[in-house]
Structure formats: structure tokens, C-alpha cells
């Protein structure tokens, strides 16, 4: 009994053990799907590769460890695509939600808009104030989203394949760059979603705005 631990690395998707023991356990004594070799130095790597690939008895191909893991990572591309797709759909939804919220704010504050215009605030000032509000709210929401995402940092999980009976382990990394990008993305969504309501607020006629209340 024991615990297999790859140290929060990609090796966590594999079980490492004694070759003969595991081969016997899985009744695979005559074959192996892969063998990990280490060349003594980078110069001898090519020689090692050729000697394996040129030996007809082995019937094997070679791949460097980094290429191997790169290939493994590529198998996670559909998952990444799915994540991006969900994000885009949610972003579009968020932009519409922002628009909806800001239109409601403009309607609710029509009297204030009329008052501000009477006091001398220009259409541009009104537009800028509503746009700023939308962007600030979105930025705040972005920061909140980042805070909610933070606990996922370094969480490792995986997806299993029922075909190959293998599992691809992956780890979430909430980097500073990702946080920054998230907040910028939220700000852009706020600006996009708030643009039309802000324009509507700016274009309101003073008297109709005062009467809307």
C-alpha cells in the first residue's frame, strides 16, 4: 500500500514502478508500449535514436520526453477550446447584461440627467459619466471574478479517456497575467455593454428627461 505522488507535475497522470513487476501484474511480459531512456549527453542523443529506430528487432520509434509531453498537452486542446468557447459565450451574455443594467440605470435616473443638463453639463459629460460607471462596475466585477478564481490556483485535476484507459492530468494556474487579462477583458466588456445606454443618456432631451421621472 502506498500513495503515488508526482509532486503536482504531469507525472501524476502516470504510475511508475518496477517494469517486471508491473508487466507481470498486467500480463504484458512480452511487450511494452513505451520505454524511457536517458542519453548520457545531448550529443549522443541522435546516435541513440538512430540505433533504436534502425534496429528492425525493436520495431520502435523514438520521441524526446519534451515532445512526448507536448503531444500529451495537445490532447487537451479540445478542452482548452471548450473553455474559451464558454468564456466567449459568457462574455457576450455579460455584455448584454451590462447593457440591460445600464439602460435600467439611465431610465431610473432620467430626472437626474435632465437636472444635470439644466445645470450645464454637456451631452459629452453625461455620456462619459455613464460610460465610466459601466466600466468601473465591470472592473469591480472583474476583480471579484479574479478573487473567486484564485482558490483554483494550483488545483490539479484530469480527464480520463475510456478508449485508451489513460488520464490527462492538468493543473490550473491563475497567473498575474491571467488576472490582469481578466480585468482588462471585464473593462472592455463594460465599455462595450455600457456604450449604447450612455449614448442614450447623453441624447436625452432635457424636458423629456425631467418628465420621465
Amino acid at each position: 500500500m502506498g500513495v503515488m505522488d508526482g509532486g503536482q507535475s504531469a507525472l501524476n497522470s502516470e504510475i511508475w514502478g518496477d517494469f517486471n513487476q508491473i508487466s507481470a501484474e498486467y500480463n504484458q511480459q512480452d511487450s511494452s508500449s513505451s520505454v524511457l531512456l536517458r542519453a548520457t549527453d545531448p550529443v549522443s542523443l541522435d546516435a541513440l535514436k538512430h540505433s533504436i529506430e534502425d534496429d528492425p528487432r525493436l520495431n520502435a520509434s523514438t520521441i524526446t520526453e519534451s515532445d512526448y509531453y507536448h503531444g500529451q498537452t495537445a490532447s487537451g486542446a479540445p478542452l482548452e477550446f471548450l473553455g474559451i468557447l464558454v468564456s466567449v459565450i459568457m462574455a457576450i451574455g455579460s455584455a448584454f447584461a451590462t447593457t440591460n443594467i445600464m439602460y435600467a440605470a439611465v431610465a431610473r435616473r432620467a430626472k437626474e440627467i435632465g437636472t444635470l443638463k439644466t445645470l450645464g453639463f454637456s451631452d459629452g459629460s453625461i455620456l462619459l459619466s455613464f460610460l465610466s460607471e459601466s466600466v468601473l462596475l465591470a472592473a469591480l466585477a472583474g476583480v471579484l471574478g479574479c478573487l473567486i478564481a484564485l482558490p483554483l490556483n494550483w488545483v490539479t485535476t484530469g480527464v480520463g479517456s475510456m478508449v485508451s484507459f489513460s488520464e490527462i492530468a492538468f493543473r490550473f494556474h491563475v497567473s498575474i497575467a491571467a488576472l490582469f487579462s481578466g480585468i482588462i477583458f471585464a473593462v472592455v466588456l463594460g465599455a462595450v455593454g455600457g456604450a449604447l445606454p450612455a449614448r442614450a443618456a447623453a441624447k436625452k432631451e432635457i424636458l423629456s428627461a425631467l418628465r420621465e421621472a
Binding site: T118, L119, G120, F121, S122, I206, A213
Partner: protein, 250 residues
């Protein structure tokens, strides 16, 4: 005395169910500097419409509005906004204070568009509120004030930029008698002591008695000076207008 406000053949039509309705018909009005003019008339007589046209809050169908010898038709929306900030103080019937701002912040609002720095804005706003007897309510929000106090904050906001004239649209319409007297006393004091030109729209004869002159509008027509609509109710006796802001009670 110089003419501050002048309208020439001023008309305004509104569309109602695709039919034009004349709200104002060829109104010729002159208001001299330092005057306190009450515009009276029943609901729908066009008095608020006239006030809105003078404040450049609306555009006339025909005719001219000359304010401080400037034809407002020549200004675009941006220029009109700047002009309103520099030259007029507007007092609404429903006070129209921004509910999330304190009394002091509400009064500071028009000053944001001036070249004054933050400290000067604060000083001006504080002085304005002290002038209307609310020096001890600087940090109160509108919901923490009575109707009369809210209207006094609105007056402070209207005068804080030292405008050339004050336009008041039924400023006592939402107030009880005591608060209405306070507000009218302040307006009269601003006219008497500081020489502010005031145009007061009201349908309340009592409020009109605080003004020096009263003109009547009937169905969009400005009646000649000294003439009132025949069916207009008898006005109550005039109220004293010489009181200063110290007469204002909390």
C-alpha cells in the same frame, strides 16, 4: 436698467396625437436687470414653456429669445449647456437634488464646470448654503431634509455660480405654507439685497405677491401689463418682501 431677457414673437407648438397644439403664441416679453417678475396663469397657460425656452431647455417653433443680448438660436447644444451654467440658476418645483449627494455636494455640482479649484468650490458651496440658512445641514442627504430645506438647497445650487438671473418654476408647488414663505422670502431677499433678476413661474397669487411685477399668461398668450384673466381669482394681500435670509426659520 438693461434688458436681461427679451422674447420676440415667441411661439411654441407641440404635437399631440399628430395635431399641433400652440403652447405659446407670439409672446413679446422684456425683463430688466434686477427685476423680480412673476409669470402667472392657470395650468396649461404656457408659463413653464416660456421659462423653458428662456432657459434654453427647449427650442422655439418660431420667434427669438435674446438673453443678455445673445440670440440663443445661434448656439449649439454644447454651447447652450455652457451658457446655462454661466448665466442661469434654475429652481425646480420638485427640487431635483441628486439623492446620493449631500447638500454641500449638490450645491457644488454646477461649480464643477467652472474654473474654480476644489477648495474654492467648497467655500462657494458652503457660503451658498449659509446664505439660505442651511449652514448646519452641509452634510445632510436630501432624504434627511424637509421639503422646504431641500428647496433651499436647490436655491443655493441655483445661485452658487452667481448667475445673471434665476428662473424658478413653481418653487413652492410642493411645499407647505410655512416652507413656501421661507423660500419666497429668500428669493425676495436675493432680489432686494443682491439685485438678482428673478423670473418666477407660479399659479399661486400669494407667491406672486413676493414679486415686484406680475404678468399673466392665458392660453399661450401673454396679457398686456396690468391685465389679468377675467376669471382669475382675487389675489390675497401682499406679503412683506424686504426680509433677509435671517428671517428663514429651520
Amino acid at each position: 436698467m438693461d434688458i436681461v431677457i427679451e422674447t420676440r414673437k415667441l411661439s411654441k407648438d407641440y404635437m399631440r396625437d399628430e395635431n399641433p397644439v400652440a403652447a405659446l403664441k407670439n409672446v413679446d416679453l422684456q425683463v430688466a436687470g434686477g427685476e423680480f417678475l412673476a409669470l402667472m396663469g392657470p395650468s396649461g397657460s404656457g408659463k413653464s414653456t416660456l421659462l423653458h425656452l428662456i432657459a434654453a431647455m427647449d427650442r422655439p417653433t418660431s420667434g427669438e429669445v435674446l438673453v443678455l443680448e445673445q440670440d440663443l438660436r445661434s448656439l449649439n447644444n454644447r454651447q447652450l449647456a455652457r451658457w446655462r451654467n454661466a448665466h442661469i440658476g434654475f429652481v425646480f418645483q420638485a427640487f431635483n437634488l441628486i439623492p446620493v449627494l449631500t447638500a454641500l455636494e449638490n450645491v457644488m455640482l454646477p461649480l464643477k464646470l467652472t474654473g474654480l479649484d476644489a477648495k474654492e468650490q467648497l467655500e462657494h458651496a458652503r457660503t451658498g448654503l449659509q446664505l439660505v440658512g442651511l449652514g448646519d445641514r452641509l452634510n445632510h442627504f436630501p432624504r434627511q431634509l424637509s421639503g422646504g430645506q431641500e428647496q433651499r438647497v436647490a436655491i443655493a445650487r441655483a445661485i452658487v455660480t452667481d448667475p445673471d438671473f434665476i428662473l424658478a418654476d413653481e418653487p413652492t408647488g410642493n411645499l407647505d405654507a410655512a416652507s413656501a414663505n421661507d423660500v419666497l422670502t429668500i428669493l425676495a431677499a436675493l432680489n432686494n439685497e443682491q439685485g438678482k433678476t428673478i423670473l418666477l413661474v407660479t399659479h399661486d397669487p400669494h407667491a406672486a405677491h413676493y414679486a415686484k411685477t406680475t404678468r399673466y399668461l392665458e392660453k399661450g398668450v401673454l396679457l398686456p401689463e396690468g391685465q389679468a384673466p377675467q376669471d382669475w381669482m382675487a389675489a390675497p394681500p401682499p406679503m412683506p418682501t424686504s426680509s433677509a435670509t435671517s428671517a428663514v426659520t429651520e
